[in-house]
Amino acid sequence: MAENNTTGTFLDGYRTEAGIQRLHGTKRFKKTDEKSRIIRRNKEAARIANYRKLQDTVFTGYEKNLYNNETFKFTTKLLNWNPELYTVWNYRRDILINSKFPGMNIDQKHNFLEQELRFVLVQLKSFPKCYWIWNHRKWCLKEDLRADYDLEMNLINMFFQVDERNFHAWGYRMFIADCIKDSKQTEEDRMNLYQKEFVFTTRMIKRNISNYSAWHRRSVLVDLLINTNAKLPKIIDDPKQELYRNAFNQKDKAEFLRLEYEVFLNAIYTDPDNSSVWIYGKWLFSDSFYDDMDFNFGNSFLDQAYGAVNELAELEREDMTGKENQWCIKFNLYLLKFKFVRYRKCGDINKYPEFLKSKFAELKKKLIKIDNMRKQRYLDFSLESA
């Protein structure tokens, strides 16, 4: 029998069972093996014991108010293992305030907090939806007088690339924007920041119209932008955005509404089941824009929207499923009521067309039939009620 020609390479070592064991550290086994389950349980038991020990150490220190380098290191270790322990984040902050920060000047504090931020970032990447981690980051920034908010903006943009629907990220962005805004001297600069944010929401909505946070943020920004006296400068070469900018600068609510209505229509036709868009639409046709709008113009606009949504409802009905789109009905019901309220404000409820009243009743009945769960709510809903 010819000798195995060993070249001393790894491959030869691999061919043996021992070789394979050496590489992986564990023997190859089937998952369902009883022996393997016991081995794994024992390993886990060891890990669990380690964790418990560490947790106890940290919490003991917390109860005893021990603030020093050692306890700090322990919190780091524990948070690396389980970043969702909010008490430990609190403790860590206490340690920093009581033992690390005193005696540091601004620059030293800044350098230290930069490191701290790096630590937080690692945790965030694995747990991007944990309140306590975001909170700690915000706290670090507030503590640091030399905090770099532009860097933070870039950072949060990366989070948006991965998941543009994470409301924590939106909240954080709002926080950063506010911090930056506070550092601006003029109202113009402040409003310009908001304009940039508005453009950002446009981008996010284009990426995914089912982004409730984006629509919500947009509504908040629009409110600020359209009511400010500051003039907004041009920031990007986009004809659409220019139209918006002019509308904001001239406080032209009607014009804004006209522009946004197109977006709204586009969105409901693309995805008629998307709740965020319908809810935004309701806000568009509300007092935020209608409070000082010309009566007739406002009404014709309402009629236009009503008609478009009706058409959509019909298309939806023609579908194979033959089901009614609840949102179309709800929305038009809301529009009818809003119209009535406008009549009432002008003191002219008798001028409200009769056929609309019957239309209202008809839609309401339909809605109760389709959405029986919310029957009571719809029954309470009437033209006259508040």
Binding site: D12, Y14, R28, K31, A46, S210, N266, A267, T270, D271
Partner: protein, 605 residues
């Protein structure tokens, strides 16, 4: 001539001396620190083979390599040989010189090349090409982000030997233009060239495709079970013929015009659900070569698990009574279990090679143009489909093309490889492919000329699409200009290869079990050198990797009895014993949906 290629085309070890260096290091990286240099794999140094093994596999194609790895990890003693001096067999990635040799062997009818025929090679200026700068796939394929092969690559850790890149651009050829359809909600929303009701219809169809397995959708599918998919979409969803074509042939990559409703739906669904698994793209491919690279990856995995490899070795004769396999190097191997063979490497005089009644014809062209106009930003490849009846030859079957730029590592800078294929037969196939190449040539010359071509378009003639491209909605003007377009330059072809490959796998079908029944049934005394040999199949005509893992599992069951423990291995890393490790989830060692695997994929965007 110096080559400007980013990496040299050579064997795996030569190209990637240190796999560990090339992987991105994450803070929580848990890979073993050493990838062994597998000397035996690259240059077999063993003079003699083991005298006994459980399974002998002939041919290192993709299915066979997956099978080898699966068997090896399950504990079988595997001997894996290949008649060629390279790995990959029917789906190998070859240099120019290797292609030359391959063509000669195919046309000679040499053993090891069965299943291929009528190879025609044309290289106008051989001195211009540096053979090793090229990696030409015999069987190019697209890897869908949501697919069983990708899951297996992750679960088996074989993905670590490979580098993946994304392909987002799927172009459809219609009316002399290449269009990219809006197929995601995002694109449809932003597109200004389609009206609102059409947007709604498109979205409705997409939603249906994603949800047709739910009770409501199921009912509808069942009532239209036997209809043609194209008719079904047109009638029920009122999409235009152009849109239906795009869904069926481009996104769905259907190789033929008549597919049933369930088949069509599953194809389009495959595309849609693959989106946003790893990013805004549905498909990937591996750098430096497709299935050829992946087979090597699985061979490497098999070797780690204990399989023995030897190239330049083929089966001459198998005696099922003594269970001894006679190989061409004189060795006699005692087979405990089974012998598996690829039809391409069937021993001379074989009687049981499965009937191969389906065929695919391929045309591979290397052009002296980067073709980057076709690629999405940051990408190096694209897909182009010519639906039926869109070519001057009135092609009955679609022509599918994968375009690989130099960034894929398979050709030098400034060049591009075009892989075209069709399941049309005979001369018609070749004519269709040539017509398609011509169209692609016209298009790339048109698109890459400075300033484009001269057409006077006004604002009303164009619309801005989602990706920022301008699309012309006044096609009369455009069509006219296309016909009058005379390119200033001609496209230079550096390489052109056409060949036909036959297979026993029906289009869109998976290899059927009865292919194997034959091997078991034969009890003739003088039944040939391949009696009782289990045959795998030649690569299917499908452009995706669908069916590959299934076939490997079928073969695995034939040998082991069932596929319950197919790749059922705990690939534990050493780091996991570290007490500070969090996110310990042993049960999901083979799960493929954990985020940690997603971030570990070494692909370039």
């Amino acid at each position: 001539m110096t080559s400007a290629v980013k990496s040299r085309r050579a064997s795996m070890a030569e190209r990637r001396p240190s796999m560990a260096e090339r992987r991105p290091s994450g803070l929580n990286s848990r890979r073993p620190s050493v990838i062994p240099y597998l000397a035996g794999l690259e240059k077999p140094v063993l003079p003699t083979l083991p005298s006994k093994c459980d399974v002998l596999i002939c041919g290192t194609g993709l299915v066979e390599s997956i099978l080898a790895a699966a068997l090896a990890w399950q504990g079988s003693n595997v001997l894996h040989v290949d008649a060629n001096p390279y790995y990959g067999d029917t789906c190998a990635t070859l240099t120019i010189e290797q292609i030359r040799a391959w063509c000669a062997s195919v046309n000679d009818g040499s053993p090891g090349f069965h299943g291929f025929s009528k190879a025609m090679l044309h290289i106008p200026s051989p001195h211009k090409l540096n053979s090793r700068d090229y990696g030409i796939d015999l069987t190019p394929r697209l890897l869908f982000a949501k697919s069983d092969l990708l899951s297996l690559l992750v679960a088996s850790r074989v993905y670590r030997y490979l580098e993946f890149q994304s392909i987002s651009n799927f172009h459809t050829f219609e009316n002399d233009t290449f269009d990219k359809m809006m197929s995601t909600k995002e694109e449809i929303f932003v597109d200004q060239s389609i009206n609102l009701p059409t947007k709604r219809l498109l979205m409705r169809f997409i939603k249906f495709v994603l949800e047709y397995e739910l009770p409501e959708g199921k009912k509808i599918v069942e009532s239209h079970m036997n209809e043609n998919f194209v008719d079904f979409v047109h009638n029920i969803f009122h999409l235009s013929p152009k849109q239906v074509n795009e869904f069926c042939y481009t996104l769905g990559l259907s190789p033929m015009p008549k597919i049933s409703v369930p088949q069509g739906l599953s194809r389009v669904r495959r595309y849609l659900i693959s989106f946003s698994v790893y990013g805004d793209f549905p498909t990937l491919y591996s750098k430096y070569g497709g299935p050829g690279e992946i087979s090597q990856g699985f061979c490497r995995s098999a070797a780690v698990a204990g399989a023995t490899y030897k190239l330049n070795t083929s089966l001459k004769y198998y005696d099922p009574k003594t269970k001894i396999a006679y190989l061409n190097d004189g060795s006699k191997v005692n087979i405990t279990e089974k012998v598996v063979c690829s039809p391409s490497q069937a021993p001379g005089g074989s009687k049981n090679v499965p009937k191969m009644q389906y065929e695919v014809t391929r045309l591979i062209s290397i052009v002296e143009k980067s073709c980057k106009e076709w690629f999405a930003e940051g990408e190096n490849a694209a897909v182009v489909v010519f639906p039926p009846k869109t070519l001057s030859t009135m092609n009955a079957y679609p022509v599918q093309a994968i375009i690989m730029g130099s960034g894929t590592g398979s050709c030098p800078d400034g060049q591009c490889i075009w892989y075209l294929s069709t399941i049309e037969r005979g001369e018609r196939a070749r004519k269709d492919l040539q017509a398609a190449v011509k169209k692609m040539e016209e298009s790339i010359l048109r698109e890459s000329e400075d300033g484009g071509f001269d057409v006077e378009l006004s604002d009303n003639d164009v619309a801005i699409q989602a990706n920022g491209n301008v699309s012309v909605i006044n096609s009369v003007k455009l069509g006219k200009s296309f016909k009058e377009f005379v390119p200033r330059e001609k496209l230079k072809y550096l390489f052109k290869l056409i060949f036909t490959q036959t297979t026993s796998v029906a289009p869109f079908g998976v290899v059927s079990n009865n292919v194997f029944e034959k091997a078991e049934e034969t009890e003739h005394i003088d039944a040939g050198p391949d009696e009782k040999v289990i045959y795998s199949s030649m690569p299917s005509t499908e452009i995706s990797y669908d069916g590959v893992v299934t076939e490997a599992k079928v073969l695995y069951s034939k040998i082991v009895g069932s596929d319950d423990d197919f790749f059922d291995v705990d690939f534990e890393d050493e780091d996991e014993d570290n007490a500070n490790t969090r996110n310990i989830d042993d049960e999901s060692a083979i799960a493929d949906d954990t985020e940690e695997f997603q971030s570990e994929m070494a692909f370039e965007l």
